[in-house]
């Protein structure tokens, strides 16, 4: 070994190793045409948890029975891996035909020409039963790049079992404020003795939470052109609030918050019964209840009654999109139509992807809903909303990650709320600019 290893040998080995460092990098028919009778394989991808995979697989089998020549191959992943892998397959010109798409990403993909305008496939994809406002959320520049699947609303989830245990009454959510959340949370933390906290810290996957605070003041995150117009003082107030919750012990210590946030819904403070209040999408109530085993209730967002107009809005929980490079756009459209319009399919899918945006389907499944699903639907039917914000502009799909990093910087004392606010606005704006 010693004698064999000369300078030149070592150099050769090193050069080849350095070179290996870089090794890591690595349309057919018309949408409006007739459905083919030839055997066709469609690829369909979605993100989600186990329950969703089972239901979706079941619906795929129902579709294949109706169209024996069409095979639908399901590819499913967790949220995080989903976007990485979608970007990679897009780059490789190997994108799935049908994709579950999110509000944060739809403009990014649509404006880069990756998605099919569903209007071209109208012959196979009927959208007549959809709420027009909901339908508009899937349009970019007048083209329908996504068909909204379900609707969701941002809400405050309260653990009524915990409140009852500590003898604290459930607050009246028709006129409560962020200060009320703080003071009730303080009582919970006191009673919880370091094990149970009042509030699950906001600011982790909470762009909606920040957006709602802006909307309550008549402002917004983005204007119609996609420019960041969030007033810095609103963001400052937002992070001051988060910092105060942690410092006062109303939320868990920062490192616990960060740890739980990265472990997913089932490990969250709400799901583990370690915080009485938490901000969630109303449709997550079922999953949270299943994980926590406690009685959870949806409350209206704080300060809605004092707001200029309601901060709450209908968010399309997700969209069905078809790849612009799909070789079988007509068949893909037929499958999307089955997912969105077929009553039998809807009875399997229920509200697992949100309360259906298809009004007829929503009525058809009403009788089959579980108690938590019913609560989510009722919340959607009764809580006042205003017009939804502009969809996340192209380039801003990383806003959640930017927000989370700034929250961490604030929580660990690496920056002040003022500096975080300024830096957040600047960074999101530069992401939007970079995508142009």
């Amino acid at each position: 070994m010693l004698r064999g290893l000369r300078r030149r040998t070592a150099l050769t080995v090193l050069l080849s190793l350095t070179a290996s460092l870089l090794a890591a990098c690595g349309s057919g028919s018309e949408a409006g045409g007739e459905l083919t009778a030839e055997p066709v394989t469609l690829r369909f991808t979605w993100w989600g948890a186990d329950d969703r995979h089972k239901r979706t697989q079941q619906v795929i089998e129902m579709f294949q029975k109706k169209h024996p020549n069409i095979t639908v191959k399901g590819e499913f992943k967790e949220w995080n891996g989903y976007w990485d892998s979608l970007a990679t397959t897009m780059a490789a010109n190997d994108a799935p035909d049908i994709m579950q798409m999110d509000e944060q990403y739809i403009a990014s993909y649509a404006e880069r020409g990756a998605l099919l305008d569903l209007n071209e496939a109208k012959k196979h994809l009927d959208t007549a039963d959809f709420d027009q406002k909901a339908l508009a959320t899937g349009a970019v520049d007048g083209k329908q790049y996504g068909l909204p699947v379900g609707l969701a609303m941002y809400s405050m989830v309260v653990n009524t079992d915990l409140l009852a245990k500590y003898g604290i009454p459930v607050p009246d959510d028709t006129k409560w404020t962020w200060d009320d959340v703080r003071s009730i949370g303080e009582q919970v933390s006191k009673a919880g003795g370091g094990q149970v906290f009042g509030v699950q810290s906001p600011g982790i996957n909470d762009t909606a939470g920040l957006s709602i605070r802006a909307r309550q003041q008549g402002k917004a995150l983005f204007d119609a052109e996609g420019k960041v117009v969030l007033p810095p003082e609103i963001a400052t107030k937002y992070w001051t609030y988060i910092q105060d919750l942690a410092k006062a012990g109303i939320a868990a210590p920062p490192s616990v918050t960060v740890e739980k946030a990265s472990a997913g819904l089932n490990q969250s403070a709400t799901a583990t019964n370690t915080a009485a209040f938490g901000l969630w999408w109303n449709t997550q109530l079922t999953a949270l209840t299943a994980a926590s085993g406690a009685k959870l209730k949806l409350l209206r967002l704080p300060e809605e009654s004092q707001a200029k107009s309601p901060g709450a809005y209908y968010k399309p929980s997700m969209f069905w999109s078809i790849s612009s490079r799909s070789e079988h756009p007509a068949e893909a459209a037929a499958f999307v139509s089955f997912l969105a319009n077929d009553e039998e399919a809807a009875k399997v899918l229920l509200t697992e992807r949100g309360v259906p945006a298809n009004v007829k389907i929503r009525a058809a499944i009403a009788g089959q809903l579980k108690e938590t699903d019913k609560a989510a639907k009722e919340y959607l039917d009764t809580v006042p909303v205003s017009d939804p914000p502009r969809i996340t502009p192209n380039g801003a799909s990383t806003t959640d990650a930017i927000l989370k990093r700034h929250t961490e910087d604030v929580l660990f004392g690496r920056t002040t709320p003022e500096a975080a606010a300024a830096s957040f606005i600047k960074e999101v704006q530069s992401e939007v600019d970079a995508a142009k």
């Binding site: 460092l21 090794a23 995508a435």
Partner: protein
């Protein structure tokens, strides 16, 4: 005649190599060459070209000159990533090599059951950069993890090691040090090559163990040490999996585990900025090349070749 002498004789033409043998060799090598061209050289060239473009994975790349490289100078998150990566490399590699050498010296004393210990210490190297170990690490260093349980037993209050930006990088450094097995094996092989007679002579002259180590072992082992140093530095610069898994792909909390490679990956696959990501890859190549060049230059002053 040793294998090396045989090879030399072959080169000098002492043995006739038939042409048909050459052709056969070529065919046997062909799959490897195809792989090299398609999965290594092709992408390397492509990434160099892409470094000068704006390329979002879907639309065709657009030439933008040196913009991506200029951005490297002003990108403050990248500068943070560089700081994190340098800290990781400069702290973990010396510690890892020290552990490797220490254990190799122990094992070289002719223990019984050497093969077992050798395998036991080598095992983490095989697993070290795997996803499974990184997942295990999040458990070990979590708030309710093994480390805090042990600390709790001694009455010390733990913390969320991985979820605290002050300690998150240290857990990754510990992980890298723990995988000292492969340099250790190389050290062991090197130690075995040092002729026993040197030590015998030194012992007769009354040299202490310490000075035997300093004056015989270290100089004769220096080429091996050099080899390990260069290799492990390159390896550490390329670390990715650990940080990706432990931070859930974010490089957090507060960018405290944002390795250069992870930042590069995020630019390419989360921000769809493949042009900038390619530029970053070439910049990393330059950094590693610079470190390696410095190493080779410095080697003149401390590496002793016995031939």
């Amino acid at each position: 005649m040793s294998a090396l002498d045989e090879l030399r004789q072959l080169r000098r033409g002492g043995v006739q190599v038939r042409k048909s043998d050459n052709r056969a060799a070529f065919w046997f090598l062909a799959p490897w060459f195809a792989g090299l061209l398609l999965v290594t050289i092709g992408p390397v060239i492509a990434s160099f070209a892409l470094g000068f473009t704006k390329y979002n994975l879907i639309q065709p790349p657009r030439f933008i000159g040196f913009d991506n490289f200029l951005r490297i100078l002003s990108d403050s998150r990248l500068h943070n990533a560089l700081r994190v990566t340098f800290t990781y490399v400069l702290v973990s590699v010396p510690l890892q090599l020290a552990c490797a050498l220490g254990v190799a010296l122990l094992l070289n004393r002719g223990l019984r059951g050497l093969a077992f210990y050798r395998s036991a210490f080598y095992l983490p190297s095989l697993l070290g950069s795997s996803v499974a170990i990184a997942v295990l690490w999040t458990q070990v260093f979590g708030t309710d993890g093994l480390v805090n349980r042990v600390l709790g037993f001694f009455g010390v209050e733990g913390r969320g090691w991985i979820s605290d930006p002050d300690t998150a990088l240290s857990t990754l450094i510990v992980l890298n040090v723990w995988t000292f097995g492969s340099p250790m094996i190389i050290f062991l092989a090197g130690l075995r090559q040092i002729p026993e007679v040197y030590y015998e002579a030194a012992a007769i002259d009354g040299a202490s163990r310490r000075s035997q180590f300093r004056r015989i072992t270290l100089p004769l082992l220096s080429p091996i040490l050099f080899f390990n140093l260069v290799l492990q530095i390159i390896h550490a610069f390329q670390s990715f999996t650990q940080a990706f898994v432990v931070s859930g792909g974010t490089g957090g909390p507060s960018d405290s585990t944002m390795f250069y490679t992870l930042y590069l990956y995020q630019q390419g696959f989360s921000r769809f900025d493949m042009g900038y990501a390619s530029a970053l890859a070439w910049f990393l190549l330059l950094i590693i090349a610079a470190f390696t060049a410095i190493n080779f230059w410095a080697a003149k002053y401390w590496v002793f070749y016995d031939d």
